[in-house]
Amino acid sequence: MNKAKFAIAVLSAATLGSAYAQSARDYVSIVGSSTVYPFATVVAERFGKSTPFKTPKIESTGSGGGIKLFCAGVGVEHPDITNASRAIKASELEQCAANGVRDVIEVKIGYDGISVGHAKSAADVDLTRQQLFLALAKQVPDPKGGDALVDNPYQTWKDIDASLPATRIEVLGPPPTSGTRDAFVELVMEKGCSEFPFIKAMKKSDKGAFKNICHTVREDGGYVEAGENDNLIVQKLEANPDAFGIFGFSFLDQNRDKIKGSNIEGVAPEFETIADGSYPVSRPLFFYVKKAHVGVIPGIAEYLAEFTSTKAMGEEGYLSERGLIPLPKDEYAQVVGKAKTLTAMK
């Protein structure tokens, strides 16, 4: 085995002209969520321009993929930081620890709202999470009453509730691989379906069936997987005023002349409503730092300081201009404290 390995190594070294040992890395390597990517890149760029350190490299791998790479081990070939649009799971932390990644610093950077919106030219709509569940689930409680489930019979919004328009249900949203879709399913579909008492009861008795009912999206054309690209969804909404779309708040913020967000439970998706928690569909965003790399790779602690500084993450910081909803004051103070002292998670 060793001989074979050696032979291959010699061969490849000869092909490359010279063997390259990755002994040093002078830039911070970051992986993770595509939702955090637009914020992290802004910080990285400013950091690279205003300090003597190199600009960190940020890969957009998705939250799960990022954590997997992050937890693969300690050493220059492994990333220093991973971005995530959800909190790291206990099982992932175990995986980390099994690979020697023990001290992980968690930094909560703010909130991201998920908006349901449609073209500017369409009439305003008030939606509830229950209505969205009924519109988008594969199986819904029988409209005639009773505790039976039937294949989703609703074809137009009016079928669900008389207050809604009589247009065909057509919702453009992200595919299952997307973190936005996970969050939407969890924050909207699951909440909406829990409003039916018999399904809620199932959560205790049969968790698998509960998840199956609440998390399965219809496949008969009511929900259209429009790809990970939110810009594409925005363009399609503009062309088709009857369709709704599901996308991140920053895309709504940038395109207010073309699309508008629907109220959910009577609350409009606005910067303020997401920040104070009254808009129901929002999720926290995080990044995780490998403590063992601080001091080995130059710039990690400084990047952390830049990210958590008031001018970046603060209420009027440059990240809020990009659509990141800042943390409430006391939570922000906690995060800054943890970042300064590099306090690892327990």
């Binding site: 190199k54 490299k57 890969e59 957009s60 500017k120 810009n231 895309f251």
Partner: protein, 432 residues
């Protein structure tokens, strides 16, 4: 001349009868052919018109001319001109100062922030670079042309409707009034966007450039070409000219043909496992990208090279062997030079394919935000198609035109490579 006999006349009649149908079939066939070509060209024209229509404006950038007074007290209080001090000085304050002088009656923190927001925050770095290059400017007032913020740029290019209600516009009424004053003073105008060709990626659309991705693509292709061409030619020459024809070579041939059809993401996974995990080459580096794309293009080039070798007439080989050349000499001096144009064409087609790949690059970390322009094959880099994908996915509206502009650059790069292929073929090709 005697009359044709009865059976012959019959067959004439039959042919005559079928003639109309056959001619109609031919006309139909030609018509369908023309339709197919027309349809293809039509789609191509639509593609080009939409890309160029969306993208040409990215080659221009709105710039604002400011009179900046470079105050020695704030930049270099000690007067020593120490580069470290000059590097760290607050140039943003100077830009802000000159904006305030232009609009002295703007008051209140929020209004001022809105005012400063008209110019790109890259302006202070421009000013810094200019002063570092020429410290004698300190103490003078210079006229500085700075990039406008991307929202201002979009407004000037007509992508933001000035008539829309204020709440729907990213440029607010007070900013609009300032821009109109700048227009009246002739301080705001459009200039060729040099930054687009000299900068790396940026999250400020007005500063984002294609150079990082272009260099990344060039380094990656350089590695790919350097490895795949010699390997593929050697493999093709051996298989075609020297290898015995038996079950093993048949097996190899079948496998090469199969490899050419393997989806590229598979090569990405292989690259991750072998080059990054086993040989611990750096992630996101063009060297790994080049190695992976080498694996992907090798079969293509081998197949093209073998076809080129096959098309060299046997008389050339026989002639060379007949005058006493060894088989190797016959191949090296006679067959290979004649097959080379075909091999080069195949290589460039393979390279063009490699240029457009993103899937394998995803696995090896080249789909990333990399602001610094790579300086070598071991530096982190991204590639042109990846840059297009990343910009297409960015929320800021100004990236729409950047995306199309990057596609234009990619297409020009491809066109240049194909032109080279045509040129090489014309120059070296020989016909028998």
């Amino acid at each position: 001349m005697s009359e044709p006999s009865q059976p012959v006349r019959d067959s004439f009649a039959r042919v005559e009868a079928g003639m109309k149908r056959r001619r109609a079939a031919e006309r139909r066939f030609r018509f369908f052919g023309k339709c197919a070509v027309g349809l293809g060209l039509g789609f191509l024209v639509i593609l080009f018109v939409s890309i160029v229509g969306n993208g040409y404006s990215a080659f221009w950038q709105t710039r604002i001319t400011l009179e900046v007074t470079i105050d020695e007290a704030s930049i270099d209080p000690s007067g020593v001109r120490d580069p470290a001090v000059l590097q760290a000085a607050d140039y943003g304050a100077l830009i802000k100062q000159s904006m305030r002088e232009l609009f002295p009656d703007v008051s209140g923190r929020r209004n001022r922030i809105a005012l400063y927001g008209l110019v790109s925050n890259g302006a202070s770095f421009d000013l810094r670079d200019r002063i570092l290059a020429d410290p004698s400017l300190i103490g003078t007032t210079i006229s500085l042309s700075v990039a406008a913020d991307d929202d201002v740029d979009m407004l000037m290019k007509g992508h933001i409707d000035r008539g829309a209600p204020e709440a729907d516009r990213r440029i607010k009424d007070n900013q609009l009034a300032w821009i109109e004053k700048l227009e009246a003073d002739d301080r705001i105008g459009s200039a060729f966007n040099l930054d687009f060709f000299s900068n790396g990626d940026s999250r400020e659309p007005e500063l984002a450039g294609i150079r990082g991705a272009l260099m990344g693509s060039i380094y990656t292709l350089f590695v790919t070409l350097g490895l795949s061409f010699p390997l593929a030619v050697a493999a093709a020459v051996y298989l075609e000219e020297f290898a015995p024809k038996n079950r093993w070579t048949d097996l190899i041939e079948v496998n090469i043909n199969n490899l050419a059809a393997v989806p590229s993401i598979v090569f990405g996974l292989l690259g991750l496992a072998v080059f990054i995990n086993f040989f611990t080459l750096p992630r996101s580096a063009p060297i790994v990208g080049g190695l992976v794309l080498t694996l992907m293009t090798l079969p293509t080039i081998i197949i093209a090279s073998r076809a080129a070798l096959k098309s060299v007439p046997p008389s050339i080989r026989e002639g060379a062997l007949g005058v006493g050349a060894s088989p190797m000499q016959a191949v090296m001096y006679h067959v290979l030079p004649l097959a080379l144009p075909g091999m080069l064409t195949g290589t460039i087609i393979g390279m063009a394919q490699a240029l457009g790949e993103t899937a394998p690059l995803l696995m090896i970390g080249m789909v990333a935000f990399i602001a610094d322009v790579p300086a070598g094959v071991f530096d982190p880099a991204t590639a042109l198609p990846v840059q297009i994908y990343l910009w297409a996915d960015s929320p800021e509206r100004a990236y729409v035109e950047k995306t199309s502009a990057a596609i234009i650059v990619l297409l020009l790069f491809l066109a240049a490579m194909n032109a080279l292929a045509v040129l090489l073929r014309r120059r070296f090709e020989r016909r028998w």
